[in-house]
C-alpha cells in the first residue's frame, strides 16, 4: 500500500507511533483491574511512614555487590522502621527488620500478591522476621502496646 514513497514528517510519525502503542501495546486489562482493586488497601487510621532510605537508589549501574540484601528505612515523627529484604530460593523474599521506639504489639505484612497478610511477632526490641514473602509490592502495618496510633510503611516493590 505505497503512497509514492512520500516522506513522513515528524508529526505524522509521532501520531502513527501513538496509534500503534495504543492499538498493540496498551495497558493490559488485568493491570487496570489490579489498579482499581488497589483502593481496598486504603487505610485511614494509621500514620504513614515514608521511605527515607533505599539502598537500591545509590547503586552503580551494572554493579552487583556481594550481597543481594536491600536495606530500607521508613520514618514518621520519632518512629523508625528499618528493613532488610533478601531474595531467597524460589524467588521469594525474607524480610527482617526492627520497629522503634514504641513497643510493638504485632506486625502485619501486606503483600499485593499474597492472599492473606502475614501476622508477625516482634521481640522486646521490636525486631521481627518474615519468610516466604512474595516478590512485588509489600508494606507493614505496626500496632503498638501503647496508645500510639498504628504505623503503616509506604508500599515498596521488592
Amino acid at each position: 500500500m505505497t503512497d509514492g514513497g512520500r516522506a513522513m514528517g515528524d508529526d505524522e510519525m509521532l501520531q502513527r507511533l501513538g496509534a500503534a502503542t495504543r492499538a498493540a501495546d496498551a495497558v493490559p486489562p488485568e493491570v487496570l483491574a489490579a489498579a482499581r482493586a488497589s483502593y481496598v488497601w486504603r487505610t485511614i487510621d494509621a500514620e504513614l511512614a515514608e521511605l527515607t532510605y533505599d539502598s537500591s537508589d545509590g547503586e552503580l549501574v551494572g554493579v552487583r555487590g556481594s550481597s543481594s540484601i536491600r536495606s530500607l528505612t521508613y520514618e514518621f515523627g520519632d518512629s523508625v522502621v528499618e528493613l532488610e529484604v533478601d531474595e531467597v530460593a524460589g524467588g521469594k523474599r525474607r524480610v527482617t527488620g526492627q520497629v522503634a521506639p514504641w513497643p510493638v504489639a504485632s506486625i502485619e505484612l501486606h503483600q499485593a500478591h499474597g492472599a492473606e497478610p502475614l501476622v508477625l511477632d516482634a521481640d522486646e526490641h521490636g525486631r521481627f522476621r518474615a519468610e516466604g514473602v512474595m516478590p512485588g509490592p509489600f508494606r507493614l502495618l505496626c500496632r503498638f502496646t501503647t496508645a500510639a496510633p498504628m504505623l503503616l510503611t509506604d508500599w515498596v516493590n521488592a
Binding site: 500500500m1 505505497t2 503512497d3 509514492g4 514513497g5 512520500r6 516522506a7 513522513m8 515528524d10 510519525m13 509521532l14 502513527r16 507511533l17 501513538g18 496509534a19 500503534a20 502503542t21 495504543r22 492499538a23 498493540a24 501495546d25 496498551a26 495497558v27 493490559p28 488485568e30 493491570v31 487496570l32 489490579a34 489498579a35 482499581r36 488497589s38 483502593y39 488497601w41 486504603r42 487505610t43 504513614l48 533505599d54 537500591s56 537508589d57 547503586e59 549501574v61 551494572g62 554493579v63 552487583r64 536491600r70 499485593a112 516478590p135 512485588g136 509490592p137 508494606r139 503503616l152 509506604d154 508500599w155 515498596v156 516493590n157
Partner: protein, 184 residues
C-alpha cells in the same frame, strides 16, 4: 480527556472514600502509567509490579498530593522512580546519555508509506525497540495519553526542556532509519 478541575475533583472524591472516583482516576491515567513503564523497557511481571506499586502508593497518598490537578505528573514521576529501581536492581543500563545522530540515515530521509500498511502497528513497535533506549523513553512519553507537558517530560528525563524538541527530531530520525533499513 479530563480538565485539570475534573482531575482535582476525582482526587478529592477518591480521598473521601468514593471508589467510583478512584476507578475514574485509573481509567484516566492507567495508560499513562503504562506508557512510562514501557518507555523504560520493562516487561511482564516487572512492568505490572511497577504499575501496582504506583497505584497502591497513590491510594495512601491521595489526600496529601500537593497539586491534585497534576495527579498525572505525580503518577508518571512515581512510575519513573520505580522503573529506575527495577532497572538498577537487575543491573540494566539506565540510559541517561545524549542521543547521537543516527549513523545511517534512511535513504533521502524518506520512509515510504509502503514500508508499512497504515495499520501496521507492529512495524512501528518493532522499530521503537531498535532505537536507542533514551529515544524509546522519550518517544513513549511524547505519545502518552493523556499528553505530558514538555515541563513534565523534562523533569522525568532529567533533561533541559529546550532540548526536547531537537531530541524528538533526532529520535524520529532514528525511527526512520530503522524502518527504512527494514524496507530496503
Amino acid at each position: 480527556m479530563l480538565e485539570a478541575a475534573e482531575v482535582s475533583a476525582l482526587v478529592a472524591a477518591a480521598a473521601s472514600g468514593e471508589s467510583s472516583a478512584w476507578d475514574g482516576l485509573v481509567d484516566a491515567f492507567g495508560g499513562l502509567v503504562w506508557s512510562v513503564i514501557r518507555g523504560f523497557r520493562l516487561y511482564g511481571a516487572d512492568a505490572s509490579d511497577v504499575s501496582q506499586t504506583v497505584w497502591l502508593r497513590m491510594v495512601e497518598h491521595i489526600d496529601r498530593i500537593r497539586e491534585p490537578e497534576r495527579a498525572g505528573a505525580w503518577l508518571a514521576t512515581t512510575a519513573r522512580n520505580e522503573c529506575l529501581r527495577v532497572l538498577r536492581k537487575s543491573g540494566r543500563q539506565v540510559a541517561m546519555a545524549e542521543v547521537p545522530e543516527p549513523s545511517a540515515p534512511a535513504a533521502g530521509g524518506d520512509v515510504a508509506i509502503g514500508v508499512m500498511a497504515a495499520e501496521d502497528h507492529q512495524a512501528f513497535l518493532s522499530a521503537l525497540e531498535a532505537v536507542p533506549p533514551r529515544c524509546q523513553t522519550l518517544l513513549r512519553l511524547l505519545v502518552a495519553d493523556p499528553p505530558l507537558s514538555y515541563d513534565t517530560i523534562a523533569e522525568l528525563l532529567d533533561m533541559p526542556k529546550g532540548s526536547i524538541g531537537p531530541t524528538r527530531g533526532r529520535c524520529l530520525d532514528h525511527l526512520r532509519a530503522v524502518m527504512g533499513a527494514v524496507s530496503s
